[in-house]
Amino acid sequence: MEDGRTIAGPVLRLEGITKRFPGVTALSGVELELHEGQVTALIGENGAGKSTLVKILTGIYQPDEGHIEVDGTTTRFPTATAAQEAGVTAIHQETVLFDELTVAENIFLGHAPRGRFGLMDWSRMRAEAREILTRIGAKLDPMAPLRDLGIASKHLVAIARALSVDARVVVMDEPTASLSQAEIEELYELVERLKSEGKAILFISHKFDEIFRIADRYTVFRDGEMVDAGMMEDVTEDALVTKMVGRSMDAIFPARTSSPGEEILRVAGYSHPTEFADIGFGLRRGEILGFYGLVGAGRSELMQALFGVTTPSKGAVKIDGKVAVIRSPAEAISRGIVYVPEDRGKQGAITAMPIFQNVTLPSLTQTSRNGFVQMADEFALARRYTERLDLRAASLDQAVGNLSGGNQQKVVIAKWLATRPKVIILDEPTKGIDVGSKAAVHEFMAELAAEGLSVIMVSSEIPEILGMSDRVIVMRDGRIAAELDRDGLTPEQLVRAAAGYEETAA
């Protein structure tokens, strides 16, 4: 950066960092500089590689290529402790704290002050905890058990913990995601204080208003690459949005001519006590309805309520014009609604069981006589649907856990198709799967819609939303923020609706 506005060199510098996972390149040759007393905002879509970068910075992942420089000397962070000793500390999106321990114990977990005989020096720990808490302006009793605190206070403890090591670089990964407006203001003050103490801060956020409020510099990631970096004062919100989403549409989506039929699903006034409110939409036969929003906007919670996993407090669901009360997944399935969850390993597939048994699990009545399993029918059913999805496996008797992520997803989708549903809800259907499987899933989704199946696709990937949907609903804070037609829809419109940032020109 040749702006001349920085006097000293960067505290921390990443150069040419590349990180590959089986089937995916999460980061390719990215650069990042963090400067003393400055906040650098890291901006990018979900899946752009921000979290991977945080993990490399904190010693959880090792980069495959590239190097890390602290104060100009090349170094490595082989462990989380090494990163901490080099002065890098992180406040994560989901804070890992222990409810049964006190505030002070949480702050000093792993590096508690020791006294004689290696025993905990409780009075010193208490005093130091109080000092750190005061420094960040948190009025908390160090000896209070953590379980008695609210989310915001827990967050402060997480921050205190991050600062209890002598940090020079503080990484904040979406720190305001779960905070209220008043708490966010307090967090901004804290960031200002840290700045004045000369810390270099990496601030990851989707919210443009806060980036413009507190950041001095920005770095934009897209698809694992660094696309731009600079000073905040030299850039506008519109320019940032464009940099973040503006892409060559390298993923090819199947061409579709959609002709949605009659309405099959109608949701009205659907509300949950905490997760979502006043949701209303319709879904037509053969339609692909995209649900876009930031992580935590309530999309998955809404879908799980429709599938009967959680019960909403209010509202009505109509299927084929008839009121449907869905209190369990079993009832949802019998009414033709199925759900492919985001978390394949925990909710989607039973990874220790063979492929064919996973596929037939919700359709056992089809593959049995008088309650007795007919293995041959099971293999036939599993074969029919896994072949359509071009499943790559050694045998149908293979445990699902031994398959790649993409093929596991195919098993879960095959499982639901075997129930011959009317509506299939796909929650982040291509998250974490390789490019080839991704294309196969997209291709297949288009095929299903053409056959008259109605698809709800929850996705945080803008190209996928734009490439596949007939219509897009954008959710924000548990509510529908916008309903947009596919024609003429731009990535910028989506991002604005999801982040709640209105176009200044309009």
Partner: protein, 335 residues
Amino acid sequence: MSIAEGTRPRHVPDRLASRPARILRSWELLLTVIAILIFLANTQASPYFLDPWNLSDATFNFTEKAMIAFAMALLIIAGEIDLSVAGIIALASTAMGWALQYGAGMPVLVLIGLGVGLVCGAFNGLLVTRLGLPSIVVTIGTMSLFRGISYIVLGDQAFNGYPSDFAFFGRGYVFWVISFELVLFAVLAVIYGVVLHATNFGRQIYAIGNNATAATFSGIRVARVKMILFLLTGLMSGIAAICLTARLGSTRPSIAFAWELEVVTMVVLGGVSILGGAGSILGVVIAALIMGMVTFGLGLLNVPGIVMSIFIGALLIGVIALPRLIRLVRTGKAA
């Protein structure tokens, strides 16, 4: 990319390993080998072992426990456990003895035994499925609760004088040396084997034990399946209570004391994963035979009971550790 190739589905075979290969690697085969070794050792150790009536007597060492073990196996595969089974036996036996004092005949006694078993199972099941309490905690509680009721009713007394037609369930023989209990054991083994391995219900048990969340998401009514399994375990404890009470001819509050541990040992030795999700009824049957033979063989040698429990404990740890030890030697890694 796969789009182009996708039109031609690849051939994926149903199974890779052939049936003999799967049998060779099975836990059940290992257990069978151990059972044969113990059988041979017993024939060498005592000349009385091979006597048909002695062997027949030996079966009483495991038949009642094994009946409970079948239901327990299903419950453990589904990821739950019931430690109150011996407590249920005590309570069911006490209830039967109490009814006996009021002149209840054989049919009524049987109904009471089965009924108490079902009620106790329902109580456990409701606490686990409705209140979401962990079954190990619930059943440790009901274990003392059920037996405690028997102690209150009986104190240091005993109920005696069961009618002779009732005694058939514990002492009767169907044919030559084949006892009623042995026949019941065999019939129940087949029923449980079929239920677990050949029905949709059995498949759902495995699914729940492997991943209860994904099972729920697949439309399985997890709470209902678990409730049925607690009812079954209670019912089997009731049946065991009938057989045991009939065999002993009396009820004391200490009846079947600490049987829950022997039942769980039998299930785990039979290859059922204590974490849920895996196991077979055949394994439990062989484990029952092994435990019965060990107890009987050591009994013939006049080995005291405490040594027997040491032997059973060592056997359990040895058999469980064996596959891991083999892997450790082969690859240098335990897990």
